[in-house]
Amino acid sequence: MTSQQVAHALETLEERRVPSGLDLWPRVRASAAAHQRVGPSRTARAVRVGSLALAAVLLFAFGATAYAKGPVYESLIRLFEPRATSPVEPAEQGVPLDVSQTVANVTVSVEWAYADAGRILVAYTVRSADGRRYSPQQVSLAGAGGAQVPQASGYGVTGASDMLDVALPAGEGAYVGEFAAPDLGAAPGEALALHLEMRAEELLLPATDTASSGEPAAGPSGPGSVLLDPLPNGESVGPFLLAFSVPVDPGAE
């Protein structure tokens, strides 16, 4: 068996399995446009909206209470990571951390982090001593030299969920932030020094019967359109500055 025969067999196989008319560009273009629309300046709001939506689903759709069999971030990552090309196995990859800071009555704790050459995942909790709920705002990540790492996405949970098999105490939320393109100078296997900075804003959920103002919509309107009131701004606490390090996974490019 020669190298040429192997190469020829592989070529012939793939010519039949993947026709030359393949066109991924429409799909890549749509995803790329979505990527550009969600820039760093809108990330905090995206995280807030995402966590709010998820919290609402979890609180109102899953009434039964269960207790987490493992860290909450593991459940979150397992739920959301399958969307990624190279999903992380939280129990096998990344490093557990225990870095906390308390400002006023709010504590932010970094519990786990993972880094490879393409992205960084940071799992953290925000909890208050008095049961009031706070959500992360203005989240940013920076390397040791101060280079900013843009946040690509984020997700979180508060309350209880059978689906996630978690039940968080009142006033506690768990979040995972995904940060893209970490060009921070650490080679695979080396420790990457990071600084997570954020504020925590009290979440003031409106009563169910006042979620909509009932006013006619000023913009596009119709039988299917409802004007939602913006959430009122709650107390802002911070800044929180948490330093930690995580080894760069050599398995990803």
Binding site: M1, T2, S3, Q4, Q5, V6, A7, A9, L10, E11, T12, L13, E14, R16, R17, V18, S20, L22, D23, L24, W25, R27, V28, R29, S31, A32, A33, H35, Q36, A84, T85, S86, P87, G118, R119, A152, A180, A181, D183, P188, P250, G251, A252, E253
Partner: protein, 203 residues
């Protein structure tokens, strides 16, 4: 727009430049990924996501270096990891068919097309019996035409590990597919140091 110009424009945030790179490398990339993960849909997912990761880290691109080899190495690396995950959680039930059942008859006959199809099936089944790491090594070496040094750099493994993976994969393939192949020519005594197939495979 040429590749270098596309890279410069992509670094400046021009998404249209990504179209040039996508249309240039998508076919080769999906075929390479498919050989490793053995699932065309998953292969397309991997390649699309790898193009997006290029966009996400476009600020780090070096426009003076060739994009294709680096990108294809990333694709195969991602495909290898996806295949490993999949094989950890699922049995490859479809691979249980005996290779002997797939081998074409040694009798020369008029059904050349049918024989070609049987040959492809046999190669495909044999590839499926390799580990994801061995499959990725075979694809990088014989489909993408990377040198062993390039493969070692891409995977972060020592060159000796790459050499061993290739040797083991080739020996397993040779054992399974021996009846299908013509004897190696005299100038390539063991098949281990074949020609640089990259020259032939450029499209």
């Amino acid at each position: 727009m040429e590749e270098r110009e596309a890279l410069v424009r992509l670094k400046a945030g021009d998404i249209a430049a990504l179209e040039v790179l996508t249309r240039t490398y998508q076919l080769r990339a999906v075929r390479a990924a498919d050989l490793v993960v053995r699932d065309r849909t998953l292969a397309e997912d991997i390649v699309a996501e790898t193009f997006l990761s290029v966009l996400r880290r476009s600020g780090r691109l070096d426009a003076s270096r060739p994009f294709g080899p680096w990108f294809l190495r990333c694709v195969v690396n991602n495909a290898r990891k996806a295949a490993s995950r999949r094989e950890r959680t699922a049995q490859l039930r479809g691979e249980e068919v005996s290779l002997e059942d797939l081998l074409p008859s040694q009798e020369p006959g008029p059904e050349a097309l049918a024989q070609d199809a049987a040959l492809r099936d046999a190669v495909w089944a044999a590839l499926g019996r390799l580990s994801p790491e061995q499959r990725a090594a075979v694809v990088q070496r014989y489909y993408l035409g990377l040198s062993e040094q390039e493969m070692a750099a891409a995977s972060g493994c020592p060159p000796g590990t790459i050499k061993w993976r290739l040797y083991a994969a080739r020996e397993r393939l040779r054992g399974w597919l021996y009846p299908l192949w013509e004897p190696a020519p005299a100038h390539e005594p063991s098949g281990s140091q074949g020609i640089d197939s990259r020259k032939e495979m450029r499209t």
